[in-house]
Homo-oligomer: 294 residues x 2
């Protein structure tokens, strides 16, 4: 069993963790969340997204957040985009990385970005080109790689075809997302293994939600297929909008505990991380409180 | 990846799930828990333990529980024992299976059964012999196979040596227990693989706690090593006495959801199981309420 000796974890709590919270999280809290993540040892943080403030008002202060945290040469600040406007905003804001999100099903492409799979892939290629022209690295991020809440199980061939196109376009990294937390480890292993066999030198990342508690099993399965970059969210922030009440992103502290006990390095200080998980959960709690009732 | 097509799950909630609850669970509730498990499709249920009522008062009605549920030819009722008296009581009570528990570390052997590893193994062999003479199947159940709360990481060679002795003594099944929920999937895979290679025809079971959320990952890892019998507890009943506040046994409904989505048969009705998880959690809640305060 050849497992990686070192794994990179990107914490996505400032973006995926906060985006669905009903009350606006003050910019200062977002900044503190990011600063504390840096202090735990994270070197890549999904800090913001550049999406319509009408649809995701929580991210309306994206530019402000980036301005306040400043340009730390040790840290890659990642901004997410899923259309041309967001892409241009991310470039203008001076992020180091762009996560450009497309989807592996037509329904999700339509719901998420009002586009088609084919047009999504074309826009992602454009994001890679524009990003590189501006000295920015680009992750091609594929939503619903295993299960789509609208279309069910997703054909692996389709995901691999999209992967091929993004790889040929020069994406710095390709992420497979289990957007609704319904992937299971045998399917994860199979898809990850095939992608790795097809592109052995390529950087792949996986993004698992823990809706049905399979995220750690899926991370282990992906590692046995040679994958070594994973997303997670401190404190488990980020309830999945499709499964009310269910947990969302896999909690970073769960991932780090398992990896360290497995003898795999992450560069993260687990004790500091556990401490800040409480801080993150307090932010979430405050932003869930129904202000109208107070 | 050769995964089993079918997996057997033994629900242990009536025993491991209830044993540490501070208030006595009425015999009628215990019986209903077992009846509902049967109705979900379980064919082997860890119903009771025969331990000192002084140390585990919750199991004082073990004989009564077995008497009320009666002798169902379709169901294997399992009774747990960890010393000679318990063994004799289990035989007298007419269970179909005995889980005889020993431990892989001296400290745990001492704490759990006031014995040594060597004497524990000898008693387990006696349990196998006595059980067989009385038409009862015997699982040799080894506590703390990966991590001991008192001694830390447990040498795999020692667990395999105990396994060898129990196998030679004719145990019908050998279980490896992650008693405090600190096992991780690479260690699980390695130990399970070695046991299976050494005894390819043997029946092995694994019992994982979910204290650090690795239980599903560990079950997946064990399955990739060819294991196909797992313990779990509906509703996640059974807080681990060594880790207050942490979750205990892995919840059966989490296991069944994952296995079914993986295309692995269990014989369990998931919808009925989800429904009864709430019933189980109500039993737990009632038995945790501080009566003195009411």
């Amino acid at each position: 069993m050849d497992l990686p000796k070192k794994v990179e974890i990107m914490d996505v709590s400032p973006r995926d963790g906060l985006q669905m919270l009903p009350n606006f999280v003050p910019t200062a809290d977002k900044v503190e969340l990011i600063e504390r993540l840096k202090n735990c040892g994270f070197r890549r943080i999904e800090a913001v997204s550049f999406v319509s403030p009408k649809h995701v008002p929580q991210m309306a202060d994206a530019k402000e957040v980036l301005k306040v945290i400043g340009d730390d040469p040790d840290i890659d600040e990642v901004g997410l985009a899923l259309n041309e406007r967001g892409l241009n905003d991310a470039i203008a804001a001076g992020v180091n990385w762009i996560t450009y999100v497309i989807a592996a099903t037509e329904t999700m492409s339509k719901k998420n970005a009002n586009t088609t799979i084919v047009d999504g892939v074309e826009m992602c290629k454009k994001a890679i080109k524009l990003g590189h022209e501006n000295g920015i690295k680009v992750r091609g991020s594929i939503a619903v790689c295993w299960v789509c809440p609208y279309e069910g199980d997703v054909p692996k061939e389709r995901v691999l075809k999209i992967t091929e196109e993004l790889a040929e376009a020069g994406a710095d990294e390709i992420a497979f997302n289990d957007t609704v937390g319904r992937a299971v480890p045998n399917d994860v292993y199979e898809l990850c293994k095939r992608a790795k066999e097809q592109f052995p030198e390529y950087h792949f990342a996986a993004h698992f939600h823990d809706t049905f508690f399979t995220a750690l099993a899926n991370i282990y399965a992906a590692m046995t297929a040679g994958w070594d970059i994973f997303d997670s969210s401190v404190g488990g922030l980020g309830g999945c909008p499709f499964s009310p009440g269910a947990s969302g992103n896999v909690a970073t502290e769960k991932v780090v505990w398992m990896l360290h006990k497995m003898g795999i390095e992450t560069g993260i200080d687990y004790e500091k991380l556990k401490e800040m998980a409480e801080f993150a959960q307090q932010i979430e709690k405050k932003a869930k409180t129904n202000i109208a009732r107070e």
